[in-house]
Symmetry: D2
Subunit: 342 residues, 4 copies
């Protein structure tokens, strides 16, 4: 156990998933756990599935509690991480599971989040070109959003190699845990079970500028992304169905080759055998992203689909993957390749 | 009870939904019920929710059983309806819930269904331009597929009025009942619950040419449709998320006006108040289609979403709606505007 | 439309189900709809599945709004109905879907509800011995709880005929809509989907004294009821598994005969063919109760199982059934025998 | 990796769960994987969530394939294990996940399974009195059924200490994976989602004699068990609600003390804090069993509830736990205490 980690916001779903994974991490010991309104309560009251930690008591989220750890994972509401990071100083690896430091464009931040931009940290999607180098030398990591993780992985090879025009359409189904534990009428079991809905339609979802930023960077030119999230009756998982018009002359062989090239050496991203399409069930609890791609000759489009667990590869697992890189550990340390099914 | 109806294929899901609706239809009496392998069994063994018909015994699907009714609803596997219709003659209204007579293009039929084309019947989507006239004078109705019903309703106003370019993307989530009662490994409860998957990706789903036909006819020019169906863990319902690039100069006001114009007088299609997005829960068991539309200025796309119950408006309810027209009854006779929720 | 009905508490699940059913009732017109905190909002905001009433605006729950109707259905929190009924006077049929007037024993009321007892009204379970006579001449109806409806129907024939000892065990699975729309952490979709839990264990659930009262009255002697409710991942439905020790000499034939005797003439309670066990899916949206009974020779117990829709036969449908009796209408008027499946 | 294990029946759900757990077991290497009809196919076709084993090819289930391993896990249909074990000889630890060797009474076997009894092996529920001693010295293990695992753990402390009369009632809700992968009409997603049903009512379920055997052995006298299984819409998990009449003089304190005594040192069985009731969500993917117990003074009954994952503690995890004992490894080796939630 070379390192210790504190978790701020341990009573939420992201906090719970960080703890589930860290319980199996050989090099990171679980240190102080903090919460806001739940400070003073037992962890077992919030995460009864984490038996070994049931009697841990949550401390107040405060610098005094978080300081002194090698790593601090932040699972806080927007707008809190910059101040915490400033006080912790550069000796601590700060991994922000929130959105605060994902966007490079202050105007995009303000347009979508309504507050002042807190600055940009290295973006924790190691599979993107150049990302591992940036993460290897940082003490600050911005963990990607769960939707951008799935859709970016599905589409970046095509954009990186100029196989599609920069007009991407993403329709992504998500389980309910992505919305956290807040009590909202449309997230009750009675409303969700047996129903599918869309929300944040027309470019209004906060993950839209993150998609645009990721894919534009890879394409080396502005990419538009039409992103529609869909809420489906399951607790976990994202399935992103993405497409874009093929560029003149791009063939199915080109497409397959590009995806194989990008993913053949990736430990967590698996391009499935041709003809096999991903389901979220293949990734439940695993840090994997399963991808498939095809070409629709008639419609002239490339279609790529990615499945992830929104809490694992989509948040907590992705956070630990990037932290491993920043700590100099093997990138896969403590991260499950195996899901739980059925 | 002016009319009598026989149902061929009464033990399946479509047959069950036809019976549920006809039990509440004031002008159509339920006549003979037939089945293939289930002939000789009680209806209650297959549809225990239809208490008033529990003791009806299923006859063999044969002309002798179906003849003598005013209406025959066919809920049969592909390839059977032409022969049945030929023997029943023109005095019987034949309503085919299968695919046999939907497509006008014999080559498209053969490419997607692998058999010889059986001819084209009037297409039972009354909301399409000119459809009511064609249905009013026919003795043969081709009931649309459930996906094309939802996606066509969502997109045809935009194409009819030239507000989008003819490059449509449809991603549609469906419940499992659309796949019928056949036993398949990927449709067991263990595999479906808690999981989302895609299938028929890349233009290979049989509803693709039906989409193309519908939207091209409305646009008056060839439309390409990239259609991806998605299987979600619910028994009923379709939510179709559709989009296309806006044409130069088309505004959000134009779009709203076009959809209001097309749907304001429709009894079953409801354009929701701005800002409200449909869920399948709003339509469970109802013959309604709920539609919303918006414009994504940044991505330059129109996005339209439609929710239906795949068994009601998507099949059996749509069939009865068209039959009402063909019989000269008020179009809404016996069809529920009210769903069952939560 | 001989009668008009107001509904107090129209924005909740019980209110919505009353409206769904009354939309199909030929003799009761829907009058004023009221709410507490939701007064002033559109009904469509709360029940988007009730398209024909979408634009109705909710009035404040107040006597002035409720007065002047033939019937007032109360779907209010505990403790409000006595005052409302007193002001409405005896010319109005008041149907209380809440618990206030179900229990005859003031001490039991106070023990379980913590307030003063408001008095006892005729109990709206028409299938119980003598109930129809009491309901035919009343202007006040106490609608049973959903669990007692299911379990009482399952067990009362055995107790009425002395076939079991008065020691009943009930384990009843319920969908989430029984808990209403209140926002509670354990009722979010993320917590409910994929999980089963128990609550109110050990006789602490408020429906326990109602069970005891019903079954003791039928048995003519005190009956103990061990009742355990179970929350399962579905929106609607109750399946009550009930058992009790057989009395000496009681045979399987006696049991079958007793249940057939009690239920053969019932319009809504159906004893299934031997060997067929009820599922909640058979009753979704219907006012039916499906019952099966058997004898476990080895364990010496009678086991009876009943399935209902908690919102239909379990609350709103049961309320209308009793109201029909009190109004002198045929008992089945406007109530569906047909469910929605799958 | 001190030991090697072969798995016969690797393409089913139990086989998949054995593999998921063995992938994390430090002392058992995964050897040959065999199947019946699926021999020759890739494991990835059957268990796409087990990425590290995706390319393993399934061998034919035959002695030649299974021989030469230290351990053979059998996940086969009933009636096959005796012959396999005979050929493997006493040098191999044979762990039978099927029912063949669970029952001691040949008549009970024949009555419930319809074939000749194959003999009795040590029963793999280590928490039962004396079980660990028997397992420590055996080369043959009969893995308990999933329902008996849950209900026995819930009730044996009460019976062992004479706190209840020997008349036990068990109503246990299960997810669908307990039924395996066989295609059956009532196990399709359309039929299961949104519905609850019972089956095997009245003592006809095959787990009934196993319950009786377990609890009678602990009580030292014949115990009757009325067992009703319930199918609920979730893939995994069992929640067993059990009760029995309290013996004269038994108090709530006695009960609590007895359960604490039995479970305080158990690594996998957790008696929850008073007032907290188990949900299956607390155990998903974990080898834990969560138990709560209370006394219903009015009904004079003890009620105990246990939650397990039917595939983990209920089958594959329980199998490995017993195998660890038989191998002389620490009992908890390679078995997760942590579940996956939400």
């Amino acid at each position: 156990m070379g390192y210790t980690a504190a978790i701020a916001g341990a009573s939420g779903y992201v906090g719970g998933e960080l703890l589930r994974l860290l319980l199996g991490h050989p090099d990171i010991a679980i240190g102080t756990l903090t919460a806001g309104g739940n400070a003073g309560t037992r962890l077992g009251d919030h995460h009864p599935h984490l038996r070994p930690l049931a009697d841990r008591v949550l401390a107040e989220t405060a610098i005094a509690e978080l300081a002194g750890h090698d790593i601090v994972f932040l699972a806080l509401p927007h707008g809190h991480s910059a101040a915490v990071a400033a006080e912790l100083g550069d000796s601590t690896l700060v991994v922000d599971c929130g959105a605060d430091h994902r966007l490079a464009d202050p105007d995009a931040w303000t347009a979508y989040y309504g507050s002042e931009h807190a600055g940009t940290w290295p973006y924790g999607l190691p599979e993107l070109p150049g990302a591992r180098e940036r993460l290897a030398s940082t003490k600050r990591i911005a963990v990607p959003g769960c939707f951008p993780t799935s859709g970016t992985l599905a589409m970046f090879p095509a954009l990186a190699e100029g196989l599609v025009r920069p007009e991407v359409v993403v329709v992504a189904a998500t389980g309910t845990s992505g919305a956290g534990k807040a009590l909202k009428p449309h997230l009750t079991a009675s409303e969700v079970m047996g129903a599918v809905s869309v929300y944040g339609v027309g470019g209004t979802h906060r993950h839209t500028p993150e998609f645009t930023q990721n894919l534009s960077a890879v394409a080396g030119a502005p990419v538009t992304v039409s992103f529609t999230p869909m809420l489906v009756p399951m607790p976990r998982g994202i399935l992103a169905t993405c497409s874009a018009p093929l560029t003149e002359g791009a063939t199915a062989q080109d497409v397959r080759a590009a995806y194989e090239r990008r993913f053949s050496a990736e430990p967590f991203v698996h391009l499935l055998p041709e003809g096999t399409w991903p389901t979220t069930a293949m990734t439940l609890g695993a840090n994997t992203a399963l991808v498939q791609v095809t070409v629709d000759e008639h419609a002239g489009r490339l279609i790529a689909v990615a499945a992830i667990d929104n809490l694992t590869k989509g948040t907590a697992g992705g956070a630990i993957q990037s932290a491993n890189i920043a700590l100099g550990l093997p990138e896969t340390t403590g991260l499950p390749l195996t899901g739980v099914a059925p």
